[in-house]
Symmetry: C2
Subunit: 103 residues, 2 copies
């Protein structure tokens, strides 16, 4: 994953409300925007915008169902992100070309 994309996803995760939304979506299966809004002290338009950020980052998926839109976690994307995250840390931890810190 390119740094730009990775940074975009990090920024999408960089707001407590969006973390809450992810947990709400993980806990309920057929979850629409109104359902999420009822769990949060925010206006519907604000929640809709937060969901859009998560959509743009690819972290959640939308499936229109009748008059409402159901949202769900994109588990494949989450797994890929977890891998990219581990990869970043691996890159930061190795790179022993400086031969570690000798006292």
């Amino acid at each position: 994953m390119p740094d730009e994309d990775f940074a975009d996803v990090m920024r999408a995760l960089g707001h407590p409300v969006r973390l809450s939304i992810l947990r709400i979506l993980a806990g309920q299966s057929d979850c629409c925007c109104t359902d999420v809004t009822e769990c949060l002290p925010l206006a519907q338009s604000t929640v809709s915008q937060h969901i859009k950020v998560l959509l743009d980052a690819g972290l959640v998926a939308r499936s229109p169902r009748g008059t409402r839109n159901c949202y769900s976690l994109n588990h494949a994307r989450l797994a890929a992100l977890n891998g990219a995250f581990s990869g970043l840390f691996a890159g930061l931890s190795s790179t022993p070309h400086t031969a570690a810190e000798p006292a």
Copy 2:
């Protein structure tokens, strides 16, 4: 780690330049602000501000050495973050719809 703190760290990671700075610090041992600036197409003041963001997030540490400040990765913090990250995904994955909630 509280959501607020976690979100702060995510936001600190949410800029390509700061990812670059982390990699630069991983690759050089006694690395001061000027060293980092020479690796990037940015003004010294800008780099200093990015480093401050990483400092505030606890991702890097500062050690004054003579007339310069040497920066290094905070590996303990990175490990803790990696744990928090895995924990988040565990929480998101392990609640498909197991109905652990009382109605």
